[in-house]
């Protein structure tokens, strides 16, 4: 099913297929860093920029190693592209994606994002968390925050902000749990608080109110478990829930307009209103959640503002209209693959620890 019975518009398509050039094997899709439109990464290290209608604007190499792209971000006049081999940084010239030199940080990353204060920030697995702030030059250096002797493996990182705590960095750390720290660029050490859950492999996390001053976060376990925090920095009793009907290996969790999107190896799930209810302090346990299921083998997914959700499958990129999906739930989602799910609340077996992460300066190479 790819059509949604909507408010008086029964022909509104649930998603459209993005047309990509022949030979462009897409592995990542997300927003253009600097303007409306989309950005696509290929498994041979190329980037394609399009407008929102899919018209091709620019196509070119973006990875020094030619490895598959797993993240793209932009801040100020610089763009960053991550692969499992290295992080590529580009100062921009006139055109989107235009540049005359690049800076290569020789550490593989699982992705890359930005902070409100203008830093690029990337999870480097066991190596730690990398930060670098433009402007860029061929002699630019990155700072890597690392901590020896723990299971924490930085796998996904997000940036948050609150009036009380300023910038906060939160990180999915696989079997090392979930980490959070106040972020101030240039500091020598960083004090990260981690919450670990017995044998729970934390693979992703997202802000629940990205537009607001809020530290509310949802984290995702590889088995589909959700961990919901009202305040990732201070919450000592996050809510841990799981929907038994979620199938497959959990890959991504995203939140928009009060809904939660969960991508697994089997399907895309829309948990209607779950984020909104949780941040409003309304009950989640024992409350039925309307769930919309789109069956497809997921590869990756990213939100583009509050309008679009791009889902990469082995065969194509699907562009979902997030506003339409939100406005159509829960009342209108009465046909097709609609489910009502009750979450199971697990007893929390969390352990809170404090890590002190030291910074080291990493030289970059010009390419």
């Amino acid at each position: 099913m790819n059509r949604l019975p909507g408010n008086g518009d029964r022909s509104a398509p649930l998603f459209t297929r993005v047309q990509l050039p022949k030979g462009f094997e897409v592995c990542w899709a997300g927003p253009q860093p600097f303007r409306d439109g989309f950005c696509f990464g290929s498994d041979d290290g190329r980037l394609l920029f399009t407008d929102e209608k899919g018209a091709q604007l620019r196509l070119g190499a973006a990875s020094d190693s030619g490895e598959a792209i797993n993240g793209v971000a932009g801040v100020g006049t610089a763009m960053a592209v991550s692969t499992r081999q290295e992080v590529n940084l580009f100062p921009l010239l006139d055109n989107v994606g235009g540049h005359d030199f690049s800076v290569v940080i020789p550490h593989g990353a699982h992705g890359i994002t930005t902070t409100p204060s203008g830093y690029f920030i990337a999870p480097l697995g066991r190596t730690g968390i990398m930060t670098v702030k433009p402007p860029l030059s061929p002699s630019s250096r990155a700072t890597v925050y690392s901590d020896d002797g723990t299971d924490f493996s930085a796998y996904r990182v997000i940036s948050l902000h609150s009036a009380a705590d300023g910038e906060v960095m939160a990180c999915a750390g696989r079997l090392g749990g979930i980490g959070a720290a106040k972020f101030s660029g240039g500091q020598q050490t960083q004090h990260m608080t981690t919450v670990t859950f017995k044998a729970l492999d934390i693979v992703d996390l997202c802000a629940l109110r990205s537009e607001a001053d809020s530290l509310a976060v949802a984290a995702l376990g590889r088995d589909g478990t959700l961990i919901l925090f009202q305040d990732i920095l201070h919450d000592r009793q996050p809510l841990r829930i799981r929907y038994d009907a979620v199938e497959g290996v959990a890959y991504r969790i995203l939140s928009c307009r009060g809904d939660i999107f969960l991508l697994t190896s089997k399907a895309l799930y829309l948990l209607a209103g779950l984020a909104g209810r949780f941040v409003a302090g309304e009950p989640v346990e024992g409350v039925t959640t309307p769930v919309f299921v789109v069956r497809a083998e997921g590869v990756d997914a990213n939100l583009c503002g509050e309008e679009w959700l791009l889902v990469v499958t082995p065969d194509e990129v699907r562009k979902f209209d997030v506003r339409l999906m939100h406005d159509s739930t829960p009342q209108d989602l009465s046909q097709g693959e609609i489910r009502d799910w009750n979450p199971k609340n697990f007893p929390l077996e969390a352990e809170r620890r404090h890590l002190q992460q030291r910074s080291t300066r990493v030289p970059a190479g010009a390419a």
Binding site: C27, Q85, P106, H110, R222, V299
Partner: protein, 146 residues
């Protein structure tokens, strides 16, 4: 643990296999280590299957994975690695292996070699033989879990 050989050889090529202390906790802190939940038969099974399915690169190295139900792979290493490498051994010498993949951080930056060349061919072969799906191949190429 001391280095020792598995009692069997691989079915296809009759390769011998050596369990090395280095990759079972006896090495340095930075050495990749097989996951303790894997038995020696499991580890040998990954190698045997890699040989049987001819999951090799141009240099003759073999690469393996262990299915975990439909659409997933077991963790082979203590750092959630889901792929393993078996460097090509000399004529008549036993092979050994270690968990690999996720990020390319297993060597100093100057010694890291882009893996795209071998990975593309090996992962396509894994898809052809049904060991992984096409979606899993794309995720593994990016350093993502499956």
């Amino acid at each position: 643990m001391q280095d020792h050989e598995h009692p069997r050889s691989t079915a296809r090529s009759q390769y011998r296999y050596l369990f090395t202390a280095k990759h079972h906790g006896g090495g340095s802190k930075g050495d990749a280590m097989w996951h303790p939940s894997l038995s020696e038969d499991d580890e040998f099974g990954v190698f045997d299957r890699a040989d049987d399915l001819e999951l090799s690169d141009e240099a003759g190295n073999l690469y393996g994975a262990l299915p975990d139900g439909e659409g997933s792979l077991r963790f082979l290493g203590t750092w959630q690695q889901q792929i393993s490498k078996f460097p090509c051994a000399g004529e008549g010498a036993p092979w050994h292996g270690y968990p690999l993949w996720a990020l390319n951080d297993s060597a100093p930056p100057s010694r890291r070699k882009p893996s795209r060349g071998w990975a593309t061919a090996v992962f396509i072969r894994m898809v052809e033989t049904g060991l992984i799906t096409r979606g899993m191949r794309i995720r593994l190429m990016k350093g993502d879990h499956v």
